[in-house]
């Protein structure tokens, strides 16, 4: 478990020694692309603890298989899944489903009990309001709506986002849902590495910067 991470830390010291010679730089440049092309898998994340006892440890939402719900009831959770997958759908690229965004949101909202219990209230009240709006508009709870009906309702709730004069009672919940979905998706491996294809936080022996003459002249 910690072996790989310590290996990486040794690698950092090794770079220090090697990068001071031309031969060393040549060696590193041929070795680096193979070893660091992919971001570290989750198993590498555990390991060294600092002087306060902190150490990187992934969320249970990312490690438990299957994930055990901690906050939402199963029917509430199903709605959260649907909502997050509307914000960032699976299309030709992975989305909230592959990134297990709903699991992570369940875990974070559960964890809010200690310092920010109002977050839990916001979610429960928001889901109630969603179902109330859904019943008013279509006569059914949200999870019984068709796909197009769900799209229509969520779009209505989002109206103030592009029309500052508009108001909608569902807008605060829409903002909460969207912001937490974005945060959960783009801090996940699926979102950051597979979708955005973030290439950084790695080891390079040189930084070429821009290589496009049309940007420079």
């Amino acid at each position: 478990m910690s072996g790989k991470l310590i290996g990486r830390r040794h690698a950092l010291k090794y770079f220090g020694l090697l990068s001071s010679s031309a031969a060393g730089i040549e060696f590193l440049e041929s070795w680096l692309p193979r070893s660091t092309a992919l971001a570290a898998p989750l198993e590498e994340m555990q390991g060294v603890h600092d002087s306060e006892g902190n150490g990187p440890e992934p969320s249970p939402a990312d490690t438990e298989s299957p994930y055990v719900l901690r906050f939402f009831k199963p029917d509430e959770f199903r709605t959260v899944e649907v909502l997050t997958e509307m914000i960032i759908p699976t299309d030709d690229k992975p989305g909230a489903r592959e990134a297990k965004v709903a699991n992570y949101i369940d875990f974070v909202v559960y964890s809010a009990a200690e310092f920010e219990p109002s977050l839990q209230t916001q979610w429960i009240d928001g889901l109630h309001l969603l179902n109330k709006l859904s019943a008013e508009k279509y006569g059914s709870a949200f999870s019984y709506l068709t796909g197009p009906q769900r799209e229509e309702l969520l779009t209505e709730m989002s109206t103030p986002e592009h029309d500052p004069q508009a108001e909608h009672p569902g807008y605060p919940f829409y903002k909460l849902l969207k912001s937490m979905t974005l945060e959960a998706f783009f801090t996940s491996k699926v979102g950051l590495i597979d979708f955005l294809e973030y290439k950084g936080l790695t080891f390079l022996t040189s930084f070429p910067g821009c290589t496009h003459p049309e940007h420079q002249t």
Binding site: S51, K189, T202, L204
Partner: protein, 566 residues
């Protein structure tokens, strides 16, 4: 006193100023005790530089609400990568006068904020040290000139390793022996072209980051994780570059978990004779003795120590016969960045834009001789950040959701830019800090400070408006799309971690605390070596000047020891 040693110098603090003070004094053979309030840390254990967000239980953000209410400018600092390094404000509160705001960023560990600093190393220029007599008649001059400090900028650059180029611009001189500058990113080139169309110069940003191996430290490997600590010391930090070389020398002692409380005075000689400090582990108070004291605890803490040392002779604070201790606090005029994207870069594959973790280029001040001095004084600099980062980028700011929104995020992700600036902040006597009159104490029982600081004054609003307008013009000339933004009030003092002043240098003991060698006018064997000594706060970053002044003050102190004057 018994068998306790009497050191030549007690250095309080181990950060930017303290690290340099220890290096200069101990390598010249003086017997030095460094007292650091925080605990010892090690880069190999305490920096989680290469941990991805999904390596943390809460993706780096902590539990909801875990860090409490964070003042402006601290939200991005305290993360799971760094929450064991920073002091969480709610856990160790400080006081604010009614309506006042101050963002006090504390990193109470060995090395202080050099563990996570921004690494920008531009030099002040001749007009900055004499802004009153050479620019506009406002405020005060420093009692020193650029030429007095220049050799020390050289020494600092050679010691810490700074990358950049040697051309410089008017009033922003450059070092002549820098490591090679870094290669700019695509977006940085586009901004450079746009600015240059308007006649504005864009220069390599001098950075305390190694572009080549240097003095046994490896070159930067471009991971971009600098704000979480540099595991390989490719960016300067005293924890790796100073203390390992000094510990083990017979003339150097480092004591951590030692929070200095007061300076001890000898009533007969009127000189300082040592300090008291509280061991943060057993909460007991101890004394240490020295022939000279260098306060380098950071601006606020050094001022706090002097106030807490008040006695019969100095009822308003030790060395405060001028009444200016704690006053004339300054900070950059700062506010929100402008953001958007470059259409020319949209839709292209992701690139690794981490580079040296900071921008490779920047825009130094260019508005010399401007005619709007009734509205604002002096000038600003701009910094900008471009390309692929660790977040979704500008597309996430757009309204909407679903597949089209998601595709837009990916399309604009490689095209991101943000541009922001720092304006010169002015010094007023009504911006001050004192010991809290309501008796607030910190976790060790040491009387805590209360800030009376306000960042919203006419110059600040006016220079902000000029800066917003100029940034828009530059980005339009660069061909960028700018997102709509709200103008915000200038950020509170301390928000960009560049607080300075409060024990200013000057030739007149009636209007300053320190002389031109950073010695207290009233007590000449107490030196204040950190940003408290500043007289003005130009648009430049301040750490380089902190280190150069600390080096100069300690060089002079060492010479005084050699002459038997201490």
């Amino acid at each position: 006193m018994g068998s306790q040693p009497v050191y030549d110098v007690i250095v309080v603090g181990s950060g930017a100023a303290g690290g340099i003070a220890c290096h200069v004094l101990a390598t010249q053979g003086l017997k030095v005790l460094c007292l650091e309030a925080g605990r010892r840390i090690e880069s190999a254990k305490d920096f989680h530089t290469h941990t991805f967000p999904y390596g943390w239980t809460y993706r780096g953000n902590g539990k909801p609400g875990e860090y409490g209410k964070l003042p402006q400018g601290m939200e991005w600092k305290i993360k799971e990568w760094t929450d064991h390094l920073y002091t969480i404000p709610d856990e160790d509160p400080y006081a604010l006068a009614p309506g006042a705001k101050f963002t006090w960023t504390r990193m109470r560990v060995l090395g202080g904020r050099t563990n996570c600093w921004g690494r920008g190393c531009d030099r002040f220029g001749p007009l900055d040290f004499k802004a009153k007599s050479l620019q506009d008649g406002w405020g005060e001059d420093w009692p020193i000139t650029y030429d007095d400090v220049a050799p020390y900028y050289d020494k600092v650059e050679q010691f810490i390793g700074v990358a950049g180029d040697s051309e410089g611009v008017y009033n922003t001189p450059a070092g002549q022996h820098l490591l090679p500058p870094f290669n700019p990113r695509c977006g940085e080139w586009l901004i450079k072209k746009g600015a240059e169309k308007l006649g504005i110069k864009v220069r390599p940003k001098p950075l305390a980051v190694l572009s080549r191996p240097y003095h046994g430290r490896p070159a930067c490997h471009y991971c971009g994780g600098c704000n979480w600590g540099c595991e390989v010391a490719a960016r300067y930090g005293s924890v790796d570059s100073v203390f390992p070389h000094l510990e083990g020398r017979p003339n150097f002692t480092l004591r951590t978990n030692a929070a200095v409380h007061t300076v001890l005075m000898d009533r007969e000689t009127g000189k300082a004779r040592g300090v008291t400090y509280i061991d943060s582990e057993n909460k007991q108070e101890y004394e240490a003795y020295g022939k000279a004291i260098v306060l380098a605890a950071s601006m606020v803490e050094s001022i706090r120590i002097l106030f807490n040392s008040r006695n019969r002779e100095y009822p308003n604070g030790l060395a405060n016969s001028s009444g200016t201790l704690g006053r004339y606090l300054m900070e950059h005029v700062a506010f929100n960045d402008i953001q958007g994207f470059f259409p020319q870069l949209a839709g292209r594959p992701s690139t690794n834009d981490d580079g040296p973790g900071e921008s490779c280029l920047y825009i130094p001040r260019y508005n010399y001789g401007h005619k709007d001095t009734k509205k604002y004084l002096r000038g600003w600099r701009f910094d900008f950040y471009t390309g692929c980062g660790m977040g979704p980028g500008p597309g996430a700011e757009l309204p909407g959701f679903g597949s089209a929104y998601k595709k837009k995020i990916k399309e604009l992700y490689p095209a991101a830019f943000s541009i922001g600036g720092y304006g010169e902040g002015l010094a007023f006597d009504w911006n001050y800090v004192e010991i809290d009159p309501d008796g607030l104490r910190d976790r060790l029982g040491i009387p805590q400070v209360r800030f009376h600081t306000f960042a919203e004054y006419p110059h600040a609003f006016a220079i902000r408006d000029e800066m917003y307008a100029q940034m828009e013009e530059i980005m339009k000339a660069a061909g960028a799309e700018i997102f709509p933004y709200k103008k915000v009030a200038p950020y509170p003092l301390g928000s960009v971690t560049h607080e300075a002043g409060g024990a200013r240098m000057g030739d007149d003991p009636k209007t300053s605390v320190l002389d031109k060698w950073n010695r207290c006018h009233d007590v000449r064997n107490i030196i204040v070596a950190d940003a408290a000594c500043f007289v003005t706060h130009p648009e430049k970053q301040i750490t380089h000047t902190i280190m150069a002044l600390a080096w100069r003050a300690c060089d002079h102190l060492a010479e005084e020891f050699r002459r038997g004057n201490v």
